[in-house]
């Protein structure tokens, strides 16, 4: 590899570059609104490769051939202008207008090329820096995307600090495979694993109805600092993402971080201070002596009377979840450079406390991005990013040991006394194995991550002629992190002291994970403009490789020496190790033909092989083809009010590589009496495993009106996934429990509409409005196995479960039900569906006199059900707030009525989880320093103050903390199963920012 690469570079350097030109045209480019010079504007002679860019002061000069010519001026964030230059012109001053609605932004199409949005043949969602993290502070990247992307189902699965979200693009793309999109940051394939903390050793959540891990881990994409991001492009389906091949089935999220620009060095400082508070409280039941006796026996009556006789009643929900957690966030960025070298450096300190004391999330990030032009031909770019995060998530969610905050709280009537005495000693919970206040005060569950992400890119212009150019690009990246989850349950805790697990008091759980991912790409891009046809042909082809290595360790130590925190200070230690490796190698090719921006045709092919597949030598092929037709570019077009009308059609295929180890049938270790034994794994290996295949056809139109003041994007798609990685439960009498194989078919049909408007655009007031509407219908069209419970799809039909069944929506919720009203279950019926009917988001930004800006993002999810088992648990303990109320007036209290339905109907647990939510609201004011304090203005160019809030208002019929929830974390299909989660919270922030 190295030798030919070197050859390429050397050869490139010696290639001749002919000077070309008969006359010099000079001029400046400025912003039409402010008159400020624009550096870095690209100027290209139409129909050629020839061009230049403006310098720091917006000046340019270009040699033009004789005769009338057309120059194209384009710049990120501005509307492209074509200017006819008469044969005599030598001076040209250009005013570029801001592209308020982003109609002309440049979007990635291949792996190395980009195209203006107006020429794109498929829908691509983009989120820019301002939309992403500038309305309000965002602790994590994934959370920052909520409500901003058409076609995306984004749902937080816990309110615990540090995030934890599931992102699904265009419906359900897999049943058992990886369902999260591929994240590519500056060319680096980013690890987005979820690493379970191992607290299951205490909660025993998997010991009951579902063996799927329930430790509620964070997705690792959360580590990125949202403020470092310049732009995000989301390739949602196979037609757009085909060139990413066998890892692109769930879509690709292409992230580009900020770069420096030539010119003055800009220092930005942003400081936020605020707080988190619980978004919704459930309340608790008001007991009487009778109800205390009925539900908690004689001891209950005794406790109730003690409370009545002076000890008092307590709001334990408030004591546990009522913390107003402070949030501090400081970020600094410095960027600048000259024409040859540009830099962007940033730092972030983020500290927040959750609504449970001693929980929280800290993030520290450092970044340095450098770009350097070695010669006219050779450009180098590097990015380096170090991140440290610490996440303290407490202990919430499901358990089978009565230990989590939520289940302990459900077991806590308001008449018990759980507060510590003056020595800090907590009383035992009389009705539960854990006193939640004690657990929250003494336990620790902290995940810390040290992560390095770096990339380098070399770009060599091998050939640059008037009508053709050849570029060689070599890029590579590394993503390495070390994760440690340190969970400690000291001997003083009630459940540890009582030795509920029988393994000795005190538990230490140490999870360690090392992940080392590398990837590289080598490719050529050739552009050719044949003279006569007004045609541009862009070809690219090359090779890529990616390696993924992960090593996970888990230690569970029990029987601690009191006060000790070292694994050695325990009487027993269990350990577990999981190693994974993956080697992917691919080739790809793409050809794009552009006929005068009227008709743009693209075809491409990628071949992928992987060590995960049964046959490691076989290339799986993923083709694509697309066409875009810009009607407004044709000569017959005579409707000036319509700026653009584009019809587009795209088709493509992508894959989804199986999880690690599916091809192996192996033995699990087991120990008895100190002897190591082997027991056949519950999973039967499948040695012919291959990637799932998605085929997508997408069509639509883009319409832009009134000189860029209104834009409509309309897209219909149908994607079909075949060779699904189906994990059927094999007949357990074979001795195996699970088996993965390729089969079945899944279909998604959806509609996405984006409407962008600038209703008002006057010097004093600008109003930008965006409405996004999206809906998706998924159907399991062929299932060669009997219906089964989706992974993490609940706990069985009695409590309701998400069931995969042929002919049905994969997200359907089924459960037992009493159809004829005889008080007995009559079978299993469809009771709901997790998938929403549609989602709609509405964002508005008003800026008044360029000083005051108000931004509001509202998100409406209509339809979609959850399985609310939190309410059931509170009902079973008799502590639900409305337990004694009688809503239907039949004389039976709500609580009793619901409890009596247990085992008869799962209907009470299936609840409408629609919501209308104000996701983000921000009000900012640019202090007019130039008037108020001119001397300071010489150093501080801009001073901004503001107030913002995240999720301040939620309106929902859902009867628990928050409709965005899932006890099982990110799952391929299932979502919305709720078992006493960490409650959702809202955040209010004060902002101070300045620019030097």
């Amino acid at each position: 590899m190295r030798f030919p690469l070197l050859l390429c570079i050397v050869a490139g350097m010696f290639l001749a570059f002919p000077a070309w030109g008969q006359r010099l045209v000079e001029g400046t480019v400025v912003d039409a609104r402010s008159g400020a010079p624009l550096p870095g504007v690209s100027i290209v002679l139409k129909g050629t490769m020839q061009g230049t860019t403006t310098d720091v002061d917006g000046r340019f000069s270009i040699n033009l051939p004789p005769g009338p010519q057309v120059l194209i001026f384009s710049f990120v964030g501005y509307r492209t202008q074509e200017i006819a230059v008469g044969p005599e012109v030598t001076r040209l001053d250009v005013r570029l207008e801001e592209d308020v609605l982003g109609l002309e932004e440049v979007v990635v199409t291949g792996l190395a090329t980009s195209v203006r949005r107006s020429n794109l043949a498929h829908a691509v969602a983009t989120v820019n820096a301002a939309e992403l993290a500038e309305v309000t502070a965002q602790p994590t990247l994934d959370a920052a995307l909520s409500g901003k992307v058409t076609g995306a189902y984004i749902s937080a699965y816990s309110g615990a600090p540090g995030g934890g979200l599931s992102i699904k693009l265009r419906g359900i793309s897999t049943i058992n495979g990886n369902a999260q999109p591929l994240f590519v940051v500056d060319g680096v394939l980013i690890d987005n694993s979820q690493i379970q903390s191992g607290v299951d050793a205490v909660t025993n959540a998997t010991g009951g109805g579902s063996g799927v891990a329930q430790d509620n881990p964070v997705n690792r994409i959360a580590d990125l600092n949202p403020e470092d991001i310049e732009s995000i492009e989301i390739l949602k389906g196979a037609s757009a993402a085909a060139l990413y091949g066998a890892r692109a089935s769930n879509g690709v999220v292409i992230i580009r971080t900020k770069r420096g620009r030539p010119g003055q060095t800009i220092v930005r400082v942003r400081q936020e201070i605020g707080f988190n508070e619980i978004a919704k409280r459930l309340g608790t039941r008001t007991f009487t002596a009778e109800t205390a006796l009925a539900f908690f026996g004689p001891k209950g009556l005794e406790e109730f009377q003690a409370a009545l006789n002076g000890r008092g009643f307590y709001d334990y929900e408030d004591l546990l979840y009522g913390n107003r957690g402070l949030l501090y966030r400081t970020s600094l960025s410095i960027s600048g450079g000259n024409e040859r070298t540009q830099f962007f450096a940033s730092g972030l300190l983020h500290n927040e406390e959750g609504i449970v004391k001693r929980t929280g999330y800290d993030k520290y990030s450092l970044r340095l991005n450098l770009s350097h032009r070695l010669t006219d031909r050779i450009q180098l770019e590097t990015t380096t990013n170090y991140i440290r995060t610490a996440t303290r998530r407490g202990l919430t969610g499901n358990d089978n040991s009565g230990t989590t905050f939520g289940i302990s709280l459900a077991a806590t009537p308001n008449f018990v006394y759980l507060l510590p005495d003056e020595n800090g000693i907590y009383p035992d919970h009389p009705f539960n194995s854990a006193n939640p206040l004690q657990t929250a005060a003494l336990m620790k569950n902290e995940e810390s991550v040290n992560r390095f992400i770096g990339s380098g890119r070399l770009r060599v212009n091998l050939l640059q002629r008037a009508r053709q150019a050849l570029q060689f690009i070599l890029e590579g990246g590394v993503d390495y992190y070390n994760l440690e989850n340190d969970a400690r349950f000291p001997v003083e805790l009630q459940f540890e002291r009582l030795n509920v697990d029988g393994r000795g008091p005190g538990t230490l759980i140490l999870r360690q994970a090392n992940t080392f991912n590398t990837n590289w790409r080598a490719l050529f891009v050739h552009t050719w403009t044949p003279g006569t046809l007004d045609l541009t042909l862009t070809s690219q082809g090359g090779l890529t490789g990616a390696n993924f290595d992960q090593n996970q360790l888990l230690f569970v130590a029990d029987g601690l020496v009191p006060g000790q925190q070292n694994l050695d200070q325990a009487s027993t230690i269990d350990r577990e190790q999981t190693r994974q490796f993956q080697r992917d190698r691919s080739f790809f090719f793409q050809e794009e033909a552009n006929w005068a921006d009227r008709l743009i045709l693209t075809v491409g092919l990628r071949g992928d092989k992987s060590s995960i597949n049964g046959d490691v030598r076989r290339f799986f092929l993923y083709p694509k083809a697309s066409v875009a037709l810009n009607l407004h570019q044709f000569n017959f077009w005579r409707w000036p009010v319509i700026d653009q009308l584009k019809l587009r059609l795209a088709w493509g295929q992508t894959g989804n590589i199986a999880g690690f180890g599916i091809k192996y049938t192996s033995f699990d270790p087991t120990v008895i009496g100190g002897q190591a034994g082997s027991i056949i794994s519950r999973r039967r290996g499948f040695d012919r495993v291959k990637p799932e295949r998605q085929t997508e056809l997408e069509g639509g139109f883009d319409l832009s009106l009134f000189h860029g003041r209104a834009a409509l994007e309309f897209t219909l798609y149908r994607k079909v996934i075949t060779d699904l990685l189906l994990q059927r439960e094999v007949e357990p009498s074979t001795g195996f429990g699970l088996e993965t194989f390729n089969g079945g078919e899944l279909e998604n049909v959806g509609l996405e509409i984006g409407l962008s408007l600038v209703p008002v655009d006057r010097p004093g007031l600008r109003w930008i409005s965006q409405i996004r509407f999206w809906t998706n219908r998924a159907t399991v069209t062929r299932l060669p196995v009997p219906p089964f419970r989706a992974l993490g799809g609940g706990f069985g039909a009695t409590l309701g479960e998400i069931r995969i069944e042929e002919g049905q929506s994969p997200t359907q919720i089924v459960g037992i039900d009493d159809i004829d009203g005889d008080g007995r279950p009559d079978g299993v019926f469809k009771l709901g569906d997790v998938a929403p009917k549609f989602q709609l988001s509405f964002s508005n930004e008003w800026s008044i006199a360029d000083r005051l800006t108000l931004s509001v993002l509202a998100h409406w999810k209509y339809g979609g059900d959850n399985l609310n088992l939190t309410m059931l648990l509170f009902d079973l303990f008799g502590t639900t707030a409305d337990f004694d109320r009688d809503d239907d007036g039949d004389g039976i209290p709500n609580g009793i009525e619901r409890v009596n339905l247990l085992g008869v109907s799962a209907r009470p647990f299936v609840q409408n989880a629609s919501y209308f939510r104000i996701r983000e609201i921000g009000l900012y004011y640019d202090v007019p320093l130039e008037r108020l304090w001119p001397t300071l203005h010489r150093t501080v160019r801009r001073l901004r103050v503001g107030l913002s809030a995240r999720n301040p208002i939620t309106i929902t019929p859902y009867k628990s903390y928050d409709p965005e929830v899932n006890n099982f974390g990110t799952q391929p299909v299932a979502d919305g199963v709720e078992v006493t989660p960490y409650p959702a919270y809202r955040t209010f922030l004060f902002y101070l920012g300045f620019e030097l």
Partner: protein, 439 residues
Amino acid sequence: MKRLPGYLSVLMLCLLASGCDLLSIDNRPDPNGPSLEDLLQNPTRAKLANLAIGIESASRFELGIYLIDVGMIGREYWRFSSADPRFTGDLLGKGTAVLDNNTFYITRPWGARYRVVRNAYILLEALANAADLSEAEKKALAGFAKTFIAYQLLLNLNLTYDNGIRIDVSGPEPGPIVSRDEALRFIANLLDEAAQDLAAGGSAFPFPLSSGFAGFDTPAAFRRFNRALAARVAAYREQFDQVLTLLNESFYDPTGDLRTGVYHSFSAASGDLVNPLFFDPNAPAGDALVAHPSFAADAEPGDQRLSKVVLRDEPASLDGLTSNYGVYVYPSANAPIPIIRNAELILLAAEAHIQLGNFDTAVSLLNRIRNAAGLPDYAGPLTREALLDEMLHQRRYELYGEGHRWIDLRRYNRLDALPIDRPGDDVWRQFPIPATENL
């Protein structure tokens, strides 16, 4: 691209040529565990020993759920779990709740037993290729594996009873579900086959058994355990002559220690399992194992076996059930759980003698059990009915918490004698076949 310069073509060819090597991938083995393929191709003594240890170890998987299933339906005790209402709901038939065929209480123990069976069949298959084992050692391993297959099948049949089980499960696709009679016949025959293998099994197993098999860890001694299981199966098949014959080949000892026998051993040591029925008898009601009130109420005065339950500091109430007693059969996380022990063999002998009309012999055997529990000799009538009552009563108290009462009352058609604690509760006769068996 029609006139691509020559040197560029050369460059691209270079890159593509080196690319072929760049794109190669090794086929690496599983980094996380031994593979089945390797075991079947190169079975060595050490690997087979590992497999055998795995069989004994895994026979404890989900044993807790099995014992809670049979103990709760047999009204021996209640598993209180605030986190899972199905223990006190489905298992007791609360209100209109029924046993579901896709819920953990049947799917998990059922699957775990067949997993051991699979391991045992893999061992049997691999034996054929094992070069470094003597013929006697192969026989010993075969006898061990077959005994465990029979034992594991019997436990599943105990759950599904008249619904039957699958017995032809050695191949990749399972055979049909067969009736209870056929399954019991298969189990009995397999035990006999195993006994023959063990008889030819030489003097030692080529692998270590745990402390639970202390005294039964040679092929000859293990054979006596095998015969004891066969005696239990014969009793289930109501072949009472056969029971006595088999007992004579077992470790049955009417005067010996009642606790002599074979156990599942547990330990908190690294990687090992703890006793799943060990609960603090005073554990809060949200997560506890409490005795059914009838255990204390129905005991004869002076029965020392009442120490198997402990009066709690506080009564435990959950889901409309209240008990004053915590279960204390297993006083620590390391306490072993009997697979079969001498007390059961004596009671099997007593049962056989009652059924065969040898009442005096039966009474003396029952007295052996009674006296050990601090009770005087049996003074009731010497009728078949009365003696059967007494035998079942002694089984109830002697084998409390060992998974027998429900099964005993069921084979004597006395399930209706079990107490109903809440209006609408049901006493189930058997579990459904798990839904995942795809019948």
